[in-house]
């Protein structure tokens, strides 16, 4: 958190505006859905067309669109200017670094390598960071809103989501292992092709085409095996995940439907549960992937700040 705070130290205003827009967009969505629920209930029960709710829903729709656009632009502004500040600090370090240190191969290469990390940070900040913050804000407020609407239904719906989250985390780790193995085989193929290209004249002089083709074929075979294994594991795990992911919706509508039948819940409220449940379950199910990306970002940020603080140079 401290590292992120340092990244945005000169852009606090932009961050604040973005966060406000994010919260505004989330609230507009929740209010919009509430109006939809009211329209459904009024139409169902009183058989009248609720004009006032319609106007409200249009206002919330416009407000949501403006806030969403503002969040997107504000986040990008904050991200771009913050990474510009970081790039300038990096330039200052390079200019102030004593020549003896710059000339030392390790330090030079290390500082140069930082450019890739800064590029990764820039990409993450402008494309993902504020989306993630928005998802978290949306998750928190939607959860509170749903709990406020019907605590029992929310908890019963979330129970299988928790299980699904664990399953997704474990299965993505398994898939990652197979992906790494497949990528290693692919790198070998790429390396062999590179060698063949460098040796073309020698290969021609000594007629070694067949020898190298056989070697290349062998590597392709190994990659094919790893690739098929990876895809089959992925197919099994993700198909199961697909089936499991429909359980929360089935439970939500099954239990929620029974509540409607018993008169404990209105149909409109159940409908917005269906509409908004994705904001909660989506974040939970994908949280391991988001956390992995966020950890990578923090790692990069940490390395850049450490070097800039002169601890390693």
């Amino acid at each position: 958190m401290k590292q992120i705070g340092r990244l945005f130290q000169y852009r606090k205003m932009l961050v604040a505006v973005t966060l406000l827009c994010t919260a505004g967009a989330v609230f507009a969505t929740l209010l919009w859905n509430r109006e939809l629920a009211l329209i459904i209930d009024t139409v169902q029960q009183e058989k009248v067309f609720p004009v006032e709710n319609i106007w409200k829903s249009i206002i919330y729709l416009l407000l949501g669109a403006v806030m969403q656009g503002g969040m997107s632009f504000g986040g990008a502004c904050a991200g771009e200017y913050a990474t510009h500040d970081m790039r300038m600090q990096y330039a200052e370090i390079m200019l102030k670094c004593p020549y003896e240190k710059v000339a030392s191969e390790n330090v030079g290469e290390y500082i140069s390598g930082l450019q890739n990390e800064m590029e990764d940070i820039n990409r993450y900040v402008s494309e993902q960071l504020f989306n993630m913050i928005s998802m978290v804000i949306s998750f928190v407020f939607t959860l509170i809103y749903l709990m406020y609407q019907n605590r029992q239904l929310t908890l019963l719906y979330l129970l299988p989501v928790v299980f699904l989250t664990v399953y997704t985390t474990v299965s993505s780790k398994v898939i990652y292992g197979y992906t790494v193995a497949e990528q290693k085989e692919m790198e070998k193929i790429n390396a062999v092709l590179g060698t063949i290209l460098q040796l073309v004249p020698v290969i021609r002089v000594y007629e070694a085409e067949k020898l190298l083709r056989d070697q290349y074929t062998g590597h392709i075979g190994a990659w094919q095996e790893a690739s098929v294994k990876q895809e089959r594991v992925k197919a099994r795990l993700m198909s199961l995940s697909g089936v499991l992911s429909c359980v929360p919706l089935a439970l939500l509508l099954g239990i929620g439907g029974s509540m409607v039948l018993r008169g404990e819940l209105s149909m409109g409220t159940l409908y917005i549960f269906v509409n908004l449940s994705g904001n909660v379950s989506g974040v939970m199910i994908n949280c391991s992937a988001h956390m992995a990306g966020f950890r990578r970002f923090c790692g990069n940020l940490n390395r850049v700040w450490t070097v800039m603080a002169g601890k390693e140079v």
Binding site: Y99, E100, A103, S104
Partner: protein, 218 residues
């Protein structure tokens, strides 16, 4: 006295590259320093350029002992031209205020005037060594023009022609003659034939400078 090096020691960690090296170079004197690759010739030159600081002893160049001040008094042409990926003008002025005449004079002296005039953007053309839009000889001439434009008292040369083919090297040597006229010059190289006409030739051996008979190499 233009350069005064006394008991200068420099090295990395435990390893001493220059061990109590002493050298006196008079104003406008041209000296050559020979030595095998990796012996520390470039390190010695960088010490004289104010890029490194002696660990002990004295390093005085053009009356200055502080590295930052020494740098203001020297110009250097190295094996690789070290061009910035900017315009020819920027590569010559290095961002300092400079008249058009001075830039033109430097280009003429470096035999670049015609070539630059033929470029669509002239002196404002962007040069990029790695993109292949200029040859090695042209790049080295721009580096020489930069050194000419700086008009420093001391010129340091670090194998400026070793990366060039023979014909280009000969042409570049001519422009170097203009650069070094009336200046104090220290030229390090492992090729003695490039030191033709130098006042003194020394050899760097096991961290020490040893005097050599210049005639021997001529």
């Amino acid at each position: 006295m233009s350069i005064h090096l006394s008991e200068a020691v420099f090295g990395y960690d435990e390893k001493k590259i220059l061990d109590k090296v002493s050298l006196r170079v008079n104003t406008r004197e041209h000296i050559g320093i020979l030595g095998a690759s990796g012996i520390g010739k470039s390190t010695l030159l960088k010490l004289l350029a104010g890029l490194y600081e002696v660990q002990s002893g004295i390093c005085e160049v053009a009356g200055e002992r502080e590295p930052v001040k020494i740098r203001k008094k020297v110009a250097m042409v190295m094996q690789t031209p070290g061009l910035f990926p900017l315009s020819i003008r920027d590569n010559i002025t290095c961002g300092h205020p400079m008249s058009e005449d001075k830039i033109r004079d430097a280009l003429r002296a470096a035999q670049l005037e015609e070539w630059v005039a033929s470029l669509p953007d002239g002196v404002d053309s962007i040069v990029a060594e790695r993109s292949g839009n200029i040859s090695g000889g042209q790049a080295q001439r721009i580096a020489i023009a930069r050194a000419i434009a700086k008009d420093a008292q001391v010129i340091l040369l670090d194998e400026p022609t070793s990366a060039l083919d023979e014909e280009t090297a000969r042409a570049v040597m001519k422009t170097l003659e203009y650069l070094t006229q009336g200046k104090t010059v220290v030229h390090v190289t492992h090729r003695p034939e490039t030191l033709f006409g130098y006042d003194r030739i020394l050899e760097l051996k096991e961290g020490k400078l040893v005097a050599r008979e210049s005639e021997k190499y001529i």
